[in-house]
Symmetry: C2
Subunit: 218 residues, 2 copies
């Protein structure tokens, strides 16, 4: 019975996601759905990515949070159009929330839309919003057991940024195990070892993302 | 419409939680529901707490995970009875899952039951399971903005363990802000600054917990 309800919810979500997708296609817009645990560094990555790519692309951001606008404030401070979705307790963004938020953005004059999901390693991975790619962060303090414990998000993500790599000397983090287990779940996942605090490793991420946005723009 | 469904789910959950509560009362069992983001240190805290209290109390553990048994394996290695709940994708434990798990434990010969929830800073706080207290961990690498972004879990918790305090020298973590904002949400929350890796600060936590278990046992 419970599973039936969940299926209906997900089916209904997928229909709206497909409509969002058609709208993104019509505007040749590349959409990235960014997911991670709370505090893994999503907003820091968004800030770094905007700084690196804003001269090349027109960027917009949708910020998903339970409440408050502190992430959106950080993005707006960079002069980037941003729409805040407050889920009011909900633990993920769904396609309908994104559809509502799109009304606040000028899609026709945008190349890259970054959707920063609610901090949660579970449910966001279940709800597609019409994105081109899902991207996840795993931060080193979270531990190397996360792929085996939260497999879906690793399976669904095109790229994984292993963030806070600068903290490795101070942690008991088995990087080889984390990367091995992530690849075992998703052999196609592209991994970047980065620090959004120091900037380490981010150039490769920018290059990878640029290639995908350019391909989309053709 | 959506809110109506959620209300029904929560009402149904609360009824079962009350039944669990009656069972715990009948057995004079103290039950702690432990919650945090993924990788904040729940299982490490469970291990430390068992090591410190197992000569004084008879302890049991329920481990909640999406899949796998690696946390339960860690607890079982300490010689403590443990039941694993695999939610199969679900992002929190609910009262009915706990009721099912109780069949695997000898409640009549137990003083403390630790329920380790699924790693998630959002949904676990919404579902009571019949516990005496909710306890949360916030780990320093997650950042000081967590209280303002995930308020419910701070509001519902009797205690907050600020874990990974040993990493403070390597982080941009505004501890004063985090503690101020947590207290603003819940003036009664008791805060412990700890490191489950080094053991720092845990004695105060053990004393606090012992006092509550002893009071319960009367």
């Amino acid at each position: 019975m419970k599973i039936q309800v969940v299926k209906n919810v997900l089916n209904a979500n997928d229909r709206i996601a497909d409509e969002n997708r058609a709208l993104f296609d019509a505007n040749k817009l590349f959409v990235m759905n960014l997911m991670s645990s709370p505090g893994a560094g999503k907003t820091s990555l968004v800030e770094r990515t905007i700084a690196a790519l804003k001269d090349r692309y027109r960027i917009g951001v949708i910020e998903g949070d339970i409440q408050d606008t502190c992430d959106a404030d950080r993005v707006a401070a960079l002069g980037i159009p941003v729409v805040q979705i407050n889920t009011g307790g909900g633990c993920h963004l769904d396609a309908n929330m994104i559809r509502e938020a799109l009304g606040g953005l000028d899609l026709d004059h945008m190349d890259l839309l970054i959707v920063e999901n609610v901090g949660n390693l579970v449910c966001p991975a279940e709800f597609k919003v019409g994105e081109d790619i899902k991207v996840m962060l795993l931060s080193t303090p979270e531990g190397a057991d996360k792929p085996s414990k939260y497999p879906l998000i690793f399976q669904k993500s095109a790229a994984m940024l292993l963030n806070k790599i600068d903290l490795l000397p101070y942690l008991d983090f088995d990087k080889d195990k984390a990367l091995h287990d992530a690849k075992a779940l998703n052999k196609d996942i592209t991994v970047f070892e980065v620090s959004c605090r120091t900037g380490q490793g981010l150039e490769q991420w920018f290059d990878w993302l640029k290639e995908r946005i350019d391909r989309r723009g053709r």
